[in-house]
Assembly symmetry: C2
Homo-oligomer: 307 residues x 2
């Protein structure tokens, strides 16, 4: 059987899907070896392929990397300590007969959600992922766009506050990420709960899940945190929509597991903040979540086969 | 000779270019008849074509409209009092053998600047126009994008301030337009000069040109106005760039006539505000200005001929 491996390299785990041309066969997860020598991760992936390929015929490998990628070259990736890596070239040396796709992880997730959730009828869409950081991917005219520096979709660094905004981990201020990432939401909670009577005080360590759960349970302080988060997220999404007027903006990442409770508030503020002529852009939730990346890098290889 | 008319309908004038397949032959400008009956403008255009076509063979008409357009349909246009108009269909009835292109005026200007300035080697670019309003157009993978509501490039309504921003003419607050349109710049000047010793006090009525000229002449208050304008513009452009990481952002519209004086300050702030991985996005000035629209609608017809 012809098989494709869809790989999603993260800072903690490498997720790998073994796919037939018809769909997923098996999923694997291995702990990422973080090292300045990129061969470590390449070896982890190729070892797993060797162990699991059996009698199948390898036709493609798609790899998603948590850093900017342009035409098969990883420009750098702090998370896994990589500098510039000619990853497609490296893999083509190792697998000369095999199609190799290299793409950014948020872009890959975008492709995955687009093609393997219910969104494949859209030709222009944006995925925004709210996790440890905030990122995203953009499809225009049915094609993922990479940007001249491979940095399309740095949605977390849309600036929402001109002066004296909250410090972001990127070194800038007032970024969307600093308010809507897991860390950002917790920081808002820590600020709001100061001196307040709130069920958030029952926890030693806060997470965005706790905050959303307590809000759903009726805690006023948590509800205020959710409200602020949704307002800033809606502001970011309305800015994206005023620029691109896409068919759809999909909210993904760990925070999106808050579900309709998040979505309804974001839509409420979006309607208030977006330009009046933007009427048809839909806001929805991601469906594949952690699997989006392996599906997206698989899809990118399928795409190459059809070109 | 085969000729194409490139038309740019504005709220004050209709600009019309008569083009051969090789380029511009002649330019015309007629005062716009504003009426709920869109036939008035269609007749103005067709009368001018009749008067100037001579023995040439009409092969195409491209029309730019100051409102959202999707697939040949104008969705509405306050400026010229139009509701929804099936403009392409109307023109095809009148000119059955002729290629008809209908597009938004900012999109058309974007195409014009892209193809007939020095920017045609870029495949991803954004035009932002600073005039009475602030608008723009976006080219991705060598194609203009329209958006699901024909509202791509509503760059003037990127929100820069989350709460208590300056009122915008669109009804929202804190929009880029409310700080960087001609009106916005004058408003900033009126606020800043209050009680100050400034050469701006020598004028009964301020314009953005006066403000930029006085800033160039060394007036401190005008320089502060220019600085604020450039900061907000750079924030808008950096938000666009964090989303799209385009090859180039072109600044056009009347305000852009301030030239390098404007451009250098915008670049200075852009470098401070944009995400660190956005390294190659260039910021430049428009070159065709008022003629961009007729060139763009001409180009759209040429494009259709090649499809």
């Amino acid at each position: 059987m012809k098989v494709i491996y869809g790989v999603d390299v993260g800072g903690t785990f490498i997720k790998i899907g073994k796919f037939s041309l018809d769909g997923l066969i098996n999923k694997y997860s291995i702990k990422t070896i973080i090292s300045e020598d990129y061969h470590a991760i390449i070896n982890q992936i190729s070892n797993l392929i060797d162990e699991t390929i059996e009698k199948d015929e390898l036709v493609g490998i798609g790899i998603a990397i948590p850093g900017p990628c342009v035409e098969g070259v990883v420009l750098g990736c702090h998370n896994i300590k990589w500098g510039k890596v000619y990853l497609k070239e490296e893999l083509e040396k190792k697998y000369p007969e095999v199609l190799i796709a290299v793409l950014n992880d948020a872009n890959s997730a975008c492709l995955g959600e687009w093609k393997y959730s219910d969104y494949s009828n859209y030709s222009n869409l944006v995925l925004i992922t709210l996790g440890t950081g905030v990122g995203g991917g953009i499809v225009i005219n049915n094609k993922l766009i990479e940007g001249i520096d491979g940095s399309t979709g740095e949605l977390g660094h849309i600036r929402l506050i001109p002066f004296n905004g909250r410090k972001c981990t990127c070194g800038l201020e007032g970024c969307l990420e600093s308010y809507t990432s897991i860390r950002g939401i917790v920081q808002t909670a820590l600020e709001y709960k100061e001196g307040k009577l709130t069920t958030l005080n029952n926890y030693d360590t806060l997470t965005s899940k706790i905050i959303f759960d307590e809000a759903k349970n009726g805690d006023a302080c948590s509800q205020k945190v959710v409200d602020t988060t949704c307002y800033f997220l809606a502001m970011g999404i309305s800015n994206i929509s005023n620029i691109l007027n896409p068919d759809c903006v999909i909210i993904g990442g760990g925070v999106s597991l808050a579900g309709d409770y998040l979505l309804e508030r974001v839509k409420y503020y979006f309607d208030k903040l977006v330009f009046y002529s933007i009427k048809s852009t839909k806001i929805t939730l991601a469906k594949l979540h952690n699997d989006a990346g392996i599906y997206g890098s698989y899809y990118e290889v399928l795409n190459m086969m059809n070109e």
